[in-house]
């Protein structure tokens, strides 16, 4: 029954000083000689306290090997660490569990030196065996880890070898651009806890949400304390964490971190405003404005980080295999396949209205898939032309489209042009976009239906049955590098959504995008890759397989009392430096 709040009941601690050994496991361990700790450069803060944050949904698992959903990732991201990490602020890779790494001249071998003397959150030392074991698990086909797809280059998995207790070598089958970025988010697992489950083929079921905290351990700044279904997850400090502050005191600053389950954005705003939660991210511009209005009086600090990596786009169904039941679809596809038609649609869309009405000015109109946030990779030569109904009509006229006297657009074969846009019913912003597009296209004589549908049903149509005409979707990016988007642009990619499941490109420009993307993957020099990817962007802007619309700004906030609050435009926006966060 003794639940002690550190801040409030310090005097009780004094009384119980004799029993201090009982708490020794929970207090941060002093740094031992020979332990290769990393030193945080952030401002030194105050130890103690708790940070709470709301999650949109409950975690589905605590298992970093099998997780697929955002909430689970948000939590397990605090519990585990990776070898090389992409610093969310600088967007560059930095050593994490690896002290350093070397790349061989041919770019095929990565030799990684691990930190000495660091321990998992249960006190068991970490070494190369854990790394080898972890990659064995991720690469095992039977485990079905989503991370496997990234670690398999050209159908050949990465080979992992232990060189000595603190050195591991990774061998690639072919040169792979920015391969060190692959290691980000690959959590290193404790072999001593999971080896048995793995041998029994039960790794997928271990560490599920009903697992006991004592069965789990990780190398992240926190460890699991308690999970109350329907209410919250509480994390406590990992007393063995491998990072210290400038004064050589072991991080994290926070004693605890609480994730509350608050299903809707609106409810999250209410709880943030009433002081129940300390930080907030992923909010709409409307709510941001509301919070910004009284940030002074409520002691809040709201930040508009500018454009992120998410891009929203409209696309047409160009699949060559469509269901027979959708009998009108094939005829409509004749229109959709014309580049001129897509260009006219793009020219008629009022992207500024989307920015103004949907994002209340906190967003950027897009011409390609690369947002302005991605300064490194963006092709600045492509400029967005202003909306022009006349230009759109010109393009159509030249492509032999005509108009009925009442203004209805007729295709070259003489049938009226109309189509349905699907949007996600749970995403009010994308539905609003579709509604704006609907109104815009009326001006060039196209009748558009907007059908907000449940997100899963929508995806089912796009990915499985191909029974749709057009849809508005968004793709985000965890990274600025083009590699994670390979499967969007290569011809047989699983996210090549306008034309799925085909191996042969239907048009020359699709073939070119395909080969450019594959080429950049094995090109090692950044400048050369940039040239290739610039061309991809140009092809996308010209041929519009995805008609890119807009990118929302990343809007976040925290209470003033949260120290070292340093949000990033990369996911996870506010918690990436959770070990450095502290309560003033």
């Amino acid at each position: 029954m003794f639940r002690i709040t550190w801040v409030r009941h310090v005097f009780i601690l004094a009384v119980l000083a004799a029993a201090q050994s009982l708490w020794a496991a929970d207090a941060a361990q002093p740094v031992r000689p020979g332990e290769d700790v990393a030193v945080s450069t952030a401002e030194s803060g105050k130890f103690g306290g708790r940070l709470s944050i709301a999650l949109r949904s409950e975690p589905k698992t605590f298992n970093p090997v099998t997780l697929v959903d955002g909430s689970s990732r948000e939590i397990t991201g605090r519990l585990h660490a990776d070898l090389l990490h992409i610093n969310r602020a600088s967007q560059q890779t930095e050593p994490a569990l690896a002290k350093s790494w070397k790349v061989s001249k041919d770019g095929l071998t990565y030799t990684v030196a691990l930190r000495h003397g660091i321990r998992f959150s249960d006190g068991v030392p970490f070494d190369a065996d854990d790394v080898v074991f972890s990659f064995q698990v991720y690469l095992d086909e039977k485990v079905h880890s989503p991370q496997r797809d990234l670690l398999v280059v050209n159908d050949k998995p990465i080979v992992v070898k232990k060189l000595d207790q603190y050195t591991v070598a990774f061998q690639l089958a072919q040169p792979y651009a920015a391969a060190e970025r692959l290691f980000d988010n690959i959590a290193i697992l404790p072999k001593h806890l999971l080896a048995k489950a793995y041998e029994q083929g039960k790794i997928g079921e271990s560490w599920n949400i009903s697992a006991h905290p004592a069965e789990m351990a990780g190398l992240g700044p926190f460890r699991l304390k308690e999970y109350l279904p329907g209410q919250r997850v509480t994390l406590e400090r990992n007393p063995y964490y491998w990072k210290t502050n400038k004064e050589k005191k072991r991080l994290p600053y926070l004693d605890e971190m609480t994730f509350l389950f608050v299903p809707s954005e609106d409810a999250q705003i209410i709880r943030f405003q009433s002081g129940d939660t300390d930080v907030i991210s992923r909010i709409s511009a409307d709510n941001f404005a509301l919070l910004e209005r009284d940030q002074q009086s409520r002691g809040l600090h709201m930040v508009d980080l500018g454009p992120g990596l998410e891009f929203n786009f409209l696309f047409f169904n160009l699949n060559s295999v469509v269901p027979k039941s959708a009998n009108t679809l094939a005829a409509k596809q004749q229109v959709f396949r014309q580049v001129a038609f897509r260009q006219a649609v793009s020219a008629a869309i009022d992207r500024d209205a989307i920015i103004k009405l949907v994002y209340r000015g906190r967003g950027t109109a897009l011409v390609t898939q690369v947002t302005p946030a991605n300064k490194l990779w963006r092709n600045d030569k492509i400029v967005l032309q202003k909306r022009s109904v006349d230009r759109a009509k010109d393009i159509l006229r030249r492509a032999n489209f005509t108009w009925k006297p009442d203004g209805t657009l007729l295709s070259p074969s003489g049938s009226p042009v109309e189509f349905t846009i699907l949007s996600s019913a749970s995403n009010a912003q994308r539905t609003q976009m579709a509604t704006i597009i609907q109104q815009d296209l009326k001006d060039i004589g196209i009748t558009v239906q907007v059908v907000p549908m449940e997100f899963r049903a929508l995806l089912d149509r796009v990915f499985q049955s191909h029974d749709y005409e057009a849809a508005v979707l968004a793709l985000g990016g965890g990274d600025v590098d083009p590699n994670p988007q390979m499967n969007v642009w290569v011809e047989d990619g699983s996210n090549h959504m306008w034309d799925l499941g085909e191996t042969k490109p239907a048009t020359p420009w699709e073939a070119e995008i395909d080969s450019l993307m594959k080429k950049q993957l094995s090109t090692l020099k950044v400048a050369d890759r940039k040239k290739l990817y610039d061309r991809v962007q140009q092809l996308v802007a010209d041929n519009l397989p995805l008609i890119c619309l807009a990118s929302p700004n990343i809007l976040v906030g925290a209470k003033n009392k949260v120290g070292n609050f340093n949000p990033s435009i990369l996911d996870p926006y506010v918690l990436w430096n959770s070990e450095e966060l502290f309560i003033r």
Binding site: D266, D350, T420, L422, T431, Q432, Q449, V450, P452, Y468
Partner: protein, 326 residues
């Protein structure tokens, strides 16, 4: 008291005509956006002296403030019986816009959306009621008239539908049907769902009446005189059912309107850009809307009028029915 029924009926007819001709009465189309005036409060209508004319000022959006200011440099008269392209009951000349209930996030006129939305919700309710009563009467009469095996099968089936809280069933049924539909199709789909779920209760009522009705002397007499089943059902049983069905209708319509509102409110009803009362109320679930834009409540308040007239009607009908029965 005698006047309640005809008065209620008149009000009800009036309301329905209002919504039936919403295309004329509403100054704008439900989907028409004014991108310069998102979330504008209701237009202030100024009276110039005692003239029957009313003047209105154009709105100016401020970059700094979320509010709107009146631009008093130019006045726009509100005209009745506008005839320009489409004809409307009232309207203002072009750059000016009159929105009696304010506008929503896309700058659409809430008053027009209320009228169109009420039309959709009301007629969904009425059609669903019609369907439910039709099914209910048919099934109830069959069950009551034929009795025995037919009766028990049909009534067990009815109980299956009554065994579920309607809102749960509504959600479940809506979930399995395709969502990829135009607003018109969704509308009819909702009607069918609500009606198809609702037949059980009227069926039980009708069955009861038929059961007692067929034992009445004149029915028995007709039977003995060799009247066919169809004849008896049509000529003797059906008239006894009418009153009950009518009273049920007045009760069910608001209930089914509410069902449509609930589904749309939860995001499972008619989609953008069509308006429905549920959609309009659903906007209020957004925190920034409910805390900043009070006029978004106006459709909800106006909706009470509809429910009130149905309530009066149902009460009067029931009283009358009791009177006849006594």
């Amino acid at each position: 008291m005698k006047l309640t029924l005809p008065l209620g009926l008149l009000t009800l007819i009036g309301i329905h005509l209002l919504f039936l001709f919403c295309g004329y009465i509403a100054p704008y189309d439900e989907a028409q956006q004014d991108r310069m005036a998102a979330f504008a409060p209701p237009t202030k209508v100024h009276l110039a002296r005692s003239y029957p004319y009313i003047y209105v000022c154009a709105w100016n959006a401020h970059e700094t403030d979320s509010g709107y200011d009146e631009d008093c440099s130019q006045k726009f008269a509100v005209h009745l019986f506008v005839n320009g392209g489409d004809s409307h009951l009232f309207g203002v000349a072009s750059p000016g816009r009159i929105s009696l209930f304010g506008t929503d996030g896309l700058g659409r006129d809430q008053f027009s959306r209320f009228l169109f939305g009420a039309r959709l919700s009301l007629f969904a309710g009425i059609l669903a009621t019609f369907l439910a009563l039709l099914l209910g009467t048919l099934i109830g009469m069959t069950a009551g008239f034929y009795g025995s095996f037919v009766d028990s099968t049909l009534m067990r089936f009815a109980e299956l539908f009554l065994a579920l809280p309607w809102i749960y069933l509504l959600l479940a049924v809506r979930a399995f049907l395709p969502l990829h539909l135009s607003p018109i199709q969704t509308f009819f789909l909702l009607v069918v769902i609500i009606g198809a779920i609702g037949w059980a209760r009227p069926a039980r009522l009708v069955r009861g009446i038929v059961l007692s009705g067929k034992e009445r002397n004149f029915v028995l007499a007709a039977k003995n005189l060799g009247a066919s089943n169809g004849y008896i059902l049509r000529r003797h049983i059906l008239p006894q059912v009418y009153g009950v069905v009518l009273a049920q209708a007045a009760l069910l319509v608001p209930q089914y309107v509410l069902a449509e509102i609930t589904l749309s409110f939860l995001g499972l009803g008619v989609g953008e850009p069509a308006a429905s009362l549920g959609n309009l109320l659903g906007e209020l679930q957004q925190y920034h809307v409910i805390s900043s834009y009070w006029w978004m409540f106006l459709p909800g308040i106006a909706l009470l009028l509809i429910f009130f007239s149905y309530f009066v009607m149902a009460n009067a009908l029931q009283r009358r029915l009791k009177f006849i029965a006594v």
